[in-house]
């Protein structure tokens, strides 16, 4: 019989493994595969740098993608016309402080800290912030129902843009 603490730890390890795999998929630009990690109604948000906790329906975000726009974003990124990412940048994600915040049925709320380095044209920009995930348990893995990348940067300076998947 496993204790509650052991169950909690096991869940966190599963979540960590999932996030680390996602980070690898993104770093290798396997974006079709990344899209498969989302539920049919999955969404992806990057709130503005001046209001970190906000609703995209009444606040201007940097990115607020429903599944349809996310599909298109991926398709575009894999094509030739995202000039800001062609040739592709190199990215590397350091993900730490992974915490399971809440579990309800098959839904798991997770937060994690990140530093995402984007390296291109001899420039190296570090994006610092926190992920908030709403995950759905599917068998022994998860699907992403909502993915929020909340930047701690006070402005996108000198970064200038979020042209890749944060």
């Amino acid at each position: 019989m496993t204790s509650i603490a052991e169950n909690k730890q096991a869940l966190r390890l599963d979540v960590e493994e999932f996030l680390f795999q996602e980070a690898e998929v993104l770093a290798e630009w396997r974006l079709e595969e990344w899209l498969e990690l989302f539920t049919d109604t999955g969404s992806y948000y990057v709130p503005p740098t001046d209001i970190q906790e906000a609703d995209h329906r009444d606040t201007l975000f940097i990115i607020a993608d429903d599944k349809e726009r996310l599909k298109s974003r991926v398709k575009q990124l894999l094509g030739r016309f995202v000039h800001a990412e062609y040739p592709h940048s190199r990215t590397r994600r350091l993900i730490t402080n992974v915490r399971v915040r809440k579990v309800e049925g098959d839904t798991v709320w997770v937060t994690a800290n990140f530093v995402v380095y984007r390296i291109r044209l001899e420039l190296n920009d570090a994006y610092v912030g926190r992920y908030e995930y709403r995950l759905k348990r599917v068998g022994d893995t998860f699907k992403i129902d909502e993915r929020r990348a909340i930047l701690d940067l006070e402005a996108l300076r000198p970064h200038g843009k979020v042209s890749f998947i944060l």
């Binding site: 209001i51 009444d58 201007l60 975000f61 990412e85």
Partner: protein, 459 residues
Amino acid sequence: MLRNGHNGHGNGHGGHRELPQLVIDDEANGLFRVHRSAFTDPEILDLERERIFDRCWIYVGHASEVPKPGDFVTRRVAGRPVIFTHGHDHKLHVLLNACTHRGAIVCRERNGNTKGFQCYYHGWTFSPEGELRGIPGEDAYEGTAFDKHERRLPEPPRVESYRDFVFACFDPHVESLRDYLADAAQYIDYVADQTEAGMEIVAGQQEYSMRANYKLLVENSIDGYHARTTHQRYFEYIAERGELDLQAMAEMMKVKGGRGLGGGKSLGNGHAVIGGGATSPWGRPIARWVPAFGEERKALLAAKIEKLEKRFGKEKAHMMTQSSRNLHIFPNLIINDIMAITVRTFYPVAPDYIEINAWALAPKDERPEDRALRLDNFLTFLGPGGFATPDDVEALEACQRGFKTIKESPWSDISRGMKRTPPQGDDELQMRAFWRQWWRLMNSPERISVSALPAGVGA
């Protein structure tokens, strides 16, 4: 460039130093060239700060950002830290954000509502109108000429607003803002008149940057020529979503005889617009319906058009609802009324680096579901995570990197359509309007009214 000019090293501020020829405006041969040192030379930027940014009206903010007495936001205007406040005197103030005692930044918050500002260094306090209210140990000044009123937070010599757009000028002798705006005012009206309830800046600021010269962003913001190449992916996306009027699009994208958004127009004093009334291929939240907006909105938008036609007549209502335009207010304000409205301003930190702030502008009385649709439309194209802006950033940064070849390739060409009338949407007339004004101001060491400068002629 200046270093190689007639006077060797610059002779300091405002001298009668002659600039080398940076702009070639050859009407006879239809050639217009800009020397690339205008984008790279730090001495030219110093001169721009003095002759352009410190003598033109510079956008501060929108009245809706500080709706109540005591409301404030902090930002930089023409390089200076300022506090934009709504005073208890019911006036809007632009306070220079440096303590008159020893110079520390007085307000270090982004925004809020306050009874006053306290400089924490020695505890001096100022009202939202800028008056010096409190000095710890004030008795120490007894018997001196110290004057509390004189030690208030200074404001730029001139602060005026037009249709809730608030501007400041650091030159006391500048003409009125209304005169300065010249023919650009009516294009601000197209936006400001959308609803009787007034317009407001939506929460959420897009704060970003470019490793590029600010004039590249001016050019880019009113450039119809780059749309079909730089922004191809955006058009493919909205076509897939059924948000694109293919006939209007075909017309816009026609290489020969295409109207683009409509031809560019010089509006006086360096201001310019691109977008001459052609029906937009995309949906516009004000009242240009596309299937993706949903059947429910069709009747609502038709009613809105009718209302605007009653208020302003058919022609202006068409401009406001069906057509799009990019407006440049010299030297650093862009109001793009396209698939949403963005207000964008920027300032050069260095010849090859600018800070940009952009906002969404919307009718105050918009329904929440319409506001959500507007923001969705906005994000598709605009902003540092949209399907267009990042590629603009990339293009302008690529130009800046390319300028390293300046010695062998010193001139940029802005001649497109110089001998063509009427101008087409992908011509460069509107950029020439900017450069002509830039060149006139850069060559005017003595302060003269911007409107009094000899008018630019030519296409």
